[in-house]
């Protein structure tokens, strides 16, 4: 029994979109390149894919069976007549007259002239205006008041018309959007003028690189941010931020510190009277002055005779600061306070920072 499946029959043509080849002038020579598989813009002027005749299933809307190859039966919505304005534009092009302005919506009167059924159901006002013979606004060279200046299709058409006028395919921004080498696309809405006639940007361009503290996650000073996170307990960041503000407020209301000459502060430290009005600098100075540069790692048994070998390891900036802040918080915990209420720990931390800058703190020995 022969197989039902006819394996020797020709397969149906696969549905594919033929890849467009474009001619690009490069280095004085014209080379033909093929467009990438995925195009990066919606191009109306390019050829659209042709739907397979007779539909994929081979069944038309009428229900009659059609053959796979050939057949003239159209699917639904393929037999509609063109829009009034587009037809009028085509007629005008053929005859050489001026067609309607396609950027503007089609005047209702033109539609009603074609569509008799709609005319019957139209409001009385429109019927009267038609009878009186009011004409729709004629297209003029100056843009009409109803035109949308922000229309993107309008700007695209303008670009196309420009490109068609110059007849220079290679210089058109539409076609240049495809990079010859990399095949990457480029934004059409680029910094180039999208509205014909304007010469600059609507809004001023930002100064690059953007400042770090304009980003939501980096809006605080790095030292303040790190200390806040180290103050945080049980994930209560808002409490830590409140305590941080208490610390900074104490730093700028307490009397200015007095530098003692015996403890080395960070080089380039400002005079002590400048610190209270700049509490973040005050905090940074305290932390960076007392921060260790290295930590010692012991390797067991490596020194010979069973002793551990001491290996110094440099610390990064954040690690140094973290160690210093840990020492400050530990020392603050041990302080005694005579007050009550909220913010006592923050008060102690602030007093510890002042004592670090003044050289009185026990952290200097611990360092």
């Amino acid at each position: 029994m022969p197989p039902r499946l006819n394996i020797f029959a020709a397969p149906r043509a696969p549905v594919y979109r033929p890849r467009q080849s474009i001619a690009v002038r490069e280095n004085g020579r014209i080379c033909v390149i093929r467009q990438p598989l995925c195009r990066t813009f919606a191009d109306k002027s390019g050829s659209l894919p042709v739907a397979e005749e007779g539909g994929l299933d081979g069944v038309s809307s009428e229900g009659a069976e059609v053959g796979r190859m050939g057949g003239e039966v159209k699917g639904p919505n393929m037999q509609t007549s063109e829009h009034v304005s587009e037809e009028a534009a085509k007629m005008a092009k053929m005859t050489g007259g001026e067609g309607p302005d396609l950027d503007v919506g089609t005047p209702v009167q033109d539609i009603l002239k074609e569509d008799k059924e709609a005319l019957e159901n139209a409001p009385q006002v429109l019927k009267d205006s038609l009878k009186s013979g009011a004409s729709p606004p004629k297209p003029s060279s100056t843009p009409s008041t109803q035109s949308r200046s922000y229309s993107t299709t309008r700007s695209l058409r303008a670009l196309h018309s420009d490109s068609m006028a110059t007849d220079d395919v290679a210089d058109s921004p539409v076609f240049n959007s495809v990079n010859a080498e990399t095949g990457e696309g480029q934004d059409l809405m680029s910094s180039e003028a999208t509205i014909p006639g304007s010469s600059g940007h609507i809004f001023p361009l930002p100064e690059l690189p953007l400042p770090r503290n304009t980003h939501l996650h980096y809006r605080y000073d790095p030292v303040v941010d790190q200390v806040t996170n180290l103050l945080m307990k049980d994930g209560k960041l808002s409490v830590a931020q409140r305590n941080m503000s208490i610390i900074l407020t104490h730093l700028r209301t307490a009397p200015a510190p007095m530098y003692s000459g015996n403890k080395p502060l960070l080089p380039g430290a400002p005079p002590a009277s400048h610190l209270p009005l700049n509490p973040i600098l005050y905090l940074t100075l305290a932390i960076d002055s007392v921060a260790p540069l290295l930590r010692i790692r012991s390797q067991r048994g490596a020194a010979g005779g069973g002793a551990a070998l001491q290996i110094p390891i440099p610390l990064s900036l954040r690690q140094r600061r973290r160690q210093a802040v840990q020492w400050i918080l530990d020392a603050a915990e041990k302080r005694k306070s005579r007050g009550s209420g909220r913010g006592l720990f923050a008060q102690k931390v602030a007093e510890e920072i002042v004592s670090v800058v003044e050289g009185r703190s026990g952290i200097w020995e611990r360092r």
Partner: protein, 482 residues
């Protein structure tokens, strides 16, 4: 006796004196292999008695039950002198008014009631003169939660509400028949009600008025001070210690009282000389036993008609009475009556005294101002007061306005509603952009806000503070963000 061998260590002691003679018992013979002591083996001691003795756990006459003591770890031991009673509260409630690190704002004018009518002062920040700051401190007009401690000297913004208040002060001061202005300030938290009260008090002090302030109405009803029913009066209760502290502060804040003397005789529990000054009379009221009668006497003197022609010391200035936290006195207090039920706040004599003046039942003969402010952050539940504020605001806005009505099927505190009848209410809203700019420039000039005050910044901070709410603006500019 033959030489013995120790069965344990197998040693042979040479001298007879080193032999340990094992005492033998007559009752029982101990076996040679036994490891227990002979005393134990003899059965003379119980096994339970062989356990190590624990002393101090047996019940005694003084401690009938065995107590297990837990010692917590890592608790810091208190060393040194413990804080004196009241020291910690004083530290918590202290108000610092000056920051020597802040820059001095050059050319800042002083808050002068006469100058406030000049439009040029509106929107700028005015400093409080020293002779006004000291009495304000005595009456506790400054609050520790406010931001006075960040700037060089105390200063406030002259906003449109300040100018309006100054016009009323001027009206009362110039009126002959004793005009009284009665207002209740309400609004959002941080909108500046307490500071407006402070500005009114500052203006009153500078004009020589007598100022009586209740800084926290919560202290009247929270039940922390003593209370005593009035003699033969079940409804009214007096608060001796609170009244005594009020009388102690009165002459310190109002030095004018030293120049005034009583115009009539008073029936007081103690004998007072006839020519005593009102300040000395207040000093006598520091004793809680006689505080309330003396307070009544002083108040009746202050509200007696002024007699400038009679003699010295009989001139009577207008009186300003201010109260902060109105919700607390429009509901039940924490005090209990003899049946154990909560006293309504209106049963307290001091509260009744204030509310009778606020509602207009007790007029001030020499004029003055009675102002109360609600508190956004410290609010007691008083639906009656909330409703009364909405109702009075609607009544004042336009005659045909939609006046809210209370749901008749729900209970309401009728006493509080009646107390608020006919009282003018004043909603305090946010600053305008110009006023916000004025106060932000003050922050920048003091060095507390290290940013250039531009239109963008003002607009941003104004919006972020909920439309110019002063407290939020200060928090966003100076406290939480540096």
């Amino acid at each position: 006796m033959s030489l013995q061998i120790c069965l344990r260590c197998l040693s042979r002691p040479s001298a007879p004196s080193q032999i340990r003679l094992v005492p033998t018992t007559t009752n029982k013979q101990t076996a040679a292999f036994t490891t227990s002591t002979p005393h134990a083996a003899a059965g003379r001691i119980q096994v339970s008695q062989m356990k190590p003795k624990r002393t101090g756990n047996k019940p005694t006459a003084t401690r009938p039950v065995r107590v297990k003591r837990l010692s917590p770890k890592n608790v810091p031991q208190r060393t040194g002198r413990p804080p004196a009673p009241g020291e910690r509260k004083a530290l918590r409630k202290r108000v610092v008014l000056s920051n020597t690190n802040a820059l001095e704002v050059q050319g800042m004018p002083d808050l002068n009631p006469w100058q406030l009518f000049d439009k040029s002062m509106h929107g700028s920040v005015a400093g409080l003169p020293d002779d006004v700051v000291d009495p304000l401190r005595v009456v506790e007009a400054f609050k520790p939660t406010q931001g006075w401690s960040l700037f060089r000297r105390p200063a406030t913004l002259v906003r449109s509400e300040t100018v309006e208040m100054a016009s009323w002060v001027q009206e009362v001061h110039n009126s002959q028949e004793g005009k009284t202005v009665r207002k209740v300030l309400f609004g959002e938290r941080g909108s500046g009600k307490s500071v407006l009260l402070l500005q009114a008090m500052a203006m009153a002090f500078s004009k020589g008025w007598v100022v009586v302030n209740f800084p926290e109405a919560k202290d009247l009803t929270i039940g922390h001070t003593s209370y005593v029913p009035l003699y033969r009066n079940n409804q009214l209760y007096i608060q001796p210690h609170y009244t005594a502290s009020l009388l102690a502060a009165l002459p310190k804040a109002n030095p004018i009282l030293a120049d005034l003397r009583p115009s009539r005789e008073h029936n007081l529990p103690i004998s007072v000389p006839p020519n005593i000054s009102l300040a000395r009379l207040c000093d006598l009221g520091k004793d809680p036993e006689i505080a309330w009668p003396i307070f009544q006497a002083v108040w009746s003197e202050l509200t007696a008609p002024s007699q400038p022609d009679e003699g010295e010391g009989l001139v009577r200035p207008p009186v300003l009475m201010a109260l902060d936290g109105l919700h607390h006195i429009m509901c039940e207090s924490e005090y209990l009556d003899r049946d154990g039920k909560h006293l309504h706040a209106h049963n307290l004599a001091l509260v009744q005294h204030f509310l009778s003046h606020l509602s207009g039942a007790s007029p001030l003969a020499n004029g003055g101002m009675i102002i109360a402010a609600t508190s956004g952050s410290n609010k007691a539940a008083s639906p009656a007061l909330d409703f009364a504020l909405r109702r009075n605001e609607a009544l004042a806005s336009s005659p045909g306005a939609d006046i809210p009505a209370w749901d008749p099927y729900r209970k309401i505190d009728t006493r509080s509603l009646k107390a608020m009848d006919g009282v003018e209410v004043w909603r305090i809203e946010g600053l305008s952009k110009e006023e916000a700019r004025g106060i932000m420039e003050y922050y920048a000039k003091s060095g507390m806000m290290r940013q250039t005050v531009s239109d963008t910044l003002v607009g941003e901070r104004w919006t972020l503070s909920g439309g110019g709410i002063v407290g939020e603006l200060e928090r966003g500019s100076v406290r939480m963000r540096i």
